[in-house]
Amino acid sequence: MIKLSKKIAVLLISITSLIYSHVVQAELTIEITEGVQSAYEIAVVPFAAPQGEQLASDVAEIIAQDLASCGYFNVLARTAMLTHPTQPAQVKFRNWAAIGQDYLVIGSVTKDNNLYHLQMSLFDVYKKEQLKGLRITVDAASLVMAAHHLSDAISQRITGIPGVFTTRIAYVTSLFDANNKPLYKLQVADYDGANPTSIAQSKEPIMSPAWSPDGQKIAYVSFENKVSEIFVQTLNTGESKSVAKYKGINGSPAWSPDGKRLAVTLSKDGNSDIYILTLADLSLSKLTHSRAIDTEADWSPDGRQILFTSDRGRRPQIYMMPSNGQGRAKRLTFDGNYNARGAFSADGKSIVMVQGTQGNYRIAVLDLVSGANTVLTDGPLDESPSFAPNGQAIIYARRKGDNEVLSTVSLDGQTKLDLQHATGKVREPAWAPAK
């Protein structure tokens, strides 16, 4: 049990990693708010640099901080290192065992024309063997991302769980400009908030970003034309296409697992219902037909089921029905008098949602197999939860005083991190799928 929670802590806290080193551009800052645990002792020796060159990014330092912040590892301070091996033949395991290290990472960076070759070796100090060797070739601009890749490989090899160091997040910020007018931005950043890029902005609200399964596109809702409208933006080209602008609500886009369809909420026929929008021809088929509010759809990973929020039973609860419309909707949630915005885990066996109990809105996970309902956060206004790509953490938005921040929580509820935006409020996080 302890081991499990440590593993979870790893993935979560690993988010903090880069904050201390290459955060120059980061608008998001990360603060560990609860429960950091430590486990494996690991040394990351400075990598050999190309001859006569000072690298812009200290690869070993990035790895160290990816791992250090991630409660699963205690990273040895450089000042405590007695030797600095950069080739496997130079490693003397007993020296590292003597100072209590479980694992050792060494490596080198060499340059070939304008390309850099990163060579990394991970050793088990007690077994005296190499666990992993990896070589990555990149241009100068990709050195940081390459270092994150190495962190992922190390974390995965030791903990057995994929890291999130190379993933990205999307979120919406809201602030007041110089003329005190609201300005909404849809932003994409590295998992730790570094390298934020604004991909859309508007004086009217932006909502509900959703990543396509291949991570190439983002669907979102914008009121930039004074009415709600669903857009799909291709990130590489920046091209944005309006896919739904019907009378009334155009909201809550959710990608089908094959990336060909969106489940959306429209109210063009009278009240909010779920429709399936085929992106190739923008054709629609209506999925729900209730007189109540039906919204906030999410597809099961196999594409066969759709869950959604409905107040057909008077109060909002989460229901599930076949995505082909052949079958009745079944109510899933019975704990709490308000359950909304459900999202499936990657294995489809559980859902995360906003659960309101006596005016306190918290993030809860429902195990669809056992029926167990676990509340993970404290409220009072937590929202927009979704699973991390590795399934080990949940990212959500919450109020912090008068501000709005993003947070992550481990599945055991033990470890919590805040990602606080430097300017304005930050909300509606969406974690991109792993590459």
Binding site: P205, F223, G248, I249, G251, T309, Y338, V354
Partner: protein
């Protein structure tokens, strides 16, 4: 329920208090350019604190010039263009029926006049559910206007859910954000 009653009493109070707010406006810069900035007041849930609330923020100077003087007369129900709702409810409260009726009459007498009903919610719960809930609120007002006899082509509806709160940050502000704004255009 108790909270709800105290919020209604705000509006009764606000009508009584509107004389002072008008004076305040005269001291300010509002009237010369024709803008109708009459203010009203709202009590918080505990009934003790008074929060200022500009009910007419959506009436620009140009709009005010186009509309009849009743829109800036605090004693006229037309000066009230915000309709408030209970928690997770889209049912129009009795308190606001006279306000909706007054706007309905005006729209029937001015068939070329168009309005937008903007639906809003408080910040509790989820954003897309709140979009749907706030649209239901706007539709409740829409249906009432239709029953009075207003042509449906005079009315547009847009729901902003919790995205455009008028009062921010504090629990007692929830009631002020659960609203439909009647915007003349």
């Amino acid at each position: 329920m108790k909270i709800y009653i105290s919020i209604i009493s705000i509006f009764i109070m606000s009508l009584l208090l509107s004389g002072c707010s008008k004076d305040a406006v005269k001291d300010g810069s509002g009237l010369e350019d024709g803008s109708a900035v009459s203010e009203s007041y709202a009590y918080n849930a505990d009934g003790s604190k008074v929060t200022e609330l500009n009910l007419d923020k959506n009436l620009s100077a140009a709009e005010a010039l186009m509309l009849s003087p009743e829109f800036s007369d605090p004693s006229s129900p037309l000066s009230r263009r915000t309709i408030y709702f209970g928690y997770d409810s889209s049912q129009v409260l009795n308190e606001f029926i006279p306000v909706i009726e007054a706007h309905g009459q005006y729209l029937m007498n001015h068939p070329n006049q168009r309005i937008t009903l903007e639906g809003h919610s408080d910040e509790r719960g989820t954003r897309e559910y709140n979009i749907a809930l706030a649209e239901q609120r706007a539709k409740s007002v829409f249906k009432m206007l239709q029953l009075i006899g207003v042509m449906s082509n005079q009315i547009d509806i847009v729901s902003y859910g919790e995205e455009k709160p008028v009062a921010m940050g504090h629990n007692d502000d929830f009631a002020l954000n659960r609203r439909v704004e009647v915007v003349y255009k």
